[in-house]
Symmetry: C2
Subunit: 310 residues, 2 copies
């Protein structure tokens, strides 16, 4: 199999923790360069500027964008217009409109654009979707509580406009929900707790409904220093499904139907999917999770809370 | 021509000022009922409850939803599921996801759903679009300043979550922009001024860019007690276009290309379009203006401002 050369743009925590190892194991891709204003690796060419990279390495056919979302659009647009396939880490941008514009540019250029929602590649997702498909949802509770200092140390961009605050992990919950539920959801209200010295929520309590009216309660919190929780409980007319560890472990009607380590293989499957899309000449742009964030930000009541410092 | 019987749901200011006269003049529709918890007319049956209306008047084939947006989704869903064609006054709901769900239900039901952006039916819109089509946009300024006490007296829902505050008129500016520009826009930032005692912005200063990077500055203000202004200036590589009175008056390259009264004929054209969609068995669901509001609410910095009282 001929490997596609790929560059990582934005060599931060998620790139080092997940993308680099997944690329090292990928039969489809090989890491050919990095682009980052400060970070670099010694084993591949390092650029500090996207334009220079695009001009000097035309043989690199694909890029993975792992930068903070605030600079994503301009870089992705430039890469697509230069004929590269583009994988967007989550969240795919700062606004839904940006990503829709990228989708159109990718189509015009005949290149692949892939919004990689890593939680949709969690090991238990297919089993959960299959189990839920024939059932009627009656109620859902989502608890997504983690310690921002542990998972995003010093990442101030999270609390800047476009960083979405606690929706940075919360969007993973949305991406799981929309991947496994047989019905559409919409937001009905909620509270957004914004630190006095920051711009985006550090916690959010939200209500949604399924299209048929079943209640959905979501509890997102970035201040959880105890047990880290990425759980949902989905009640149906024929038993309940409990998802934990962000989608790794699934118990349905009391029986364990999936139990692998959290994040196991997520990024391997993401790169396999990216290779498949490129081979087929297709894009995969799923905007639903991001739209739920935008809807929550539009409908939520702002409530000022304690100033936040790292 | 056989007229379609139509019910107005939500007999408030916009229904009385615009929908009732437009229906009286329409060759395609006739007002057959109203549904409103308090208001009524003497000339047609009046209901206080949507379910009762749907059950008792199956011959009424279409409804216009003029309620505040917070109750729009449930009512529209019920009407579509009961086989009625639905016109949604702007804004079409409280979240983009809601309206996308309605779009799917309309498709499943084989009924027409129409998001009626009245400003897109302003008299100067076609001339502006044609004039701009071959030109390259270099800069845009939008000034949308009106007195909320004059245009929305006592309408507290505007300042409740889902009411969108100053975006209620601002969305008209977005709907004009997206109707006349040959390029996509996306929001890059801004400030949202929220009264200390309210939930939604009373003013907003926003920046957008065209896809090609041209700057777009928007000034939305609900506190304008002086001259009411609904203007935009669009600079291009071949002259400028000035739109005023919300799209009624257009001056392009110094020449007047459209000058009719503000709102002249907007609702007549809306109902003609609704009739055309029903005849063709199509829907027209344009979510772009609403998505720009959601993007602005997601990206804007909140700034507390003076408490607001009517």
């Amino acid at each position: 199999m001929t490997q596609t050369e790929l560059a990582i743009i934005g060599l931060g925590k998620i790139a080092r923790d997940q993308h680099v190892p997944a690329l090292a194991a990928s039969p489809a891709f090989t890491l050919a360069a990095t682009v980052d204003p400060v970070s670099r690796r010694e084993d591949v060419p390092a650029f500090t500027n996207i334009s220079t990279f695009l001009a000097q390495m035309p043989e690199v056919g694909a890029v993975s964008l792992c930068t903070p979302p605030q600079v994503r659009f301009a870089v992705a647009r430039e890469a697509l217009l230069a004929g590269r396939h583009v994988l967007l880490e989550k969240p795919p941008g700062t606004t839904v409109s940006e990503v829709m514009t990228l989708e159109r540019i990718a189509r015009d250029q005949g290149r692949t654009l892939f919004t990689a929602w890593h939680s949709q590649f969690a090991p238990g997702i297919p089993a959960a979707r299959d189990w839920l498909a024939p059932r009627r949802i009656t109620a859902i509770t989502v608890t997504w509580r983690e310690d921002v200092r542990r998972w995003h140390p010093g990442q101030d961009w999270i609390f800047e406009p476009g960083g979405t605050g606690v929706f940075d992990p919360g969007i993973n919950a949305y991406s799981v929900l929309t991947a496994i539920l047989p019905v559409a959801l919409y937001t009905t209200g909620g509270t957004l707790e914004v630190p006095a010295n920051r711009e985006t929520p550090i916690a959010a309590q939200l209500t949604m409904r399924t299209e048929e009216g079943a209640p959905v309660d979501l509890d997102f919190d970035f201040r959880e220093t105890g047990t880290q929780t990425w759980d949902m409980l989905i009640r149906t007319d024929q038993g309940d499904l409990a998802l934990s560890q962000g989608g790794a472990r699934i118990v349905a009607d009391g029986a364990l139907i999936s139990d692998e380590g959290a994040l196991a293989g997520e990024y391997d499957r993401i790169y396999a999917r990216f290779a498949e899309l490129i081979a087929k000449g297709e894009s995969d742009v799923d905007l639903t999770p991001f739209r739920h964030v935008a809807d929550a930000m539009m409908l939520g009541r702002h409530k000022q809370t304690d100033a936040f410092a790292w």
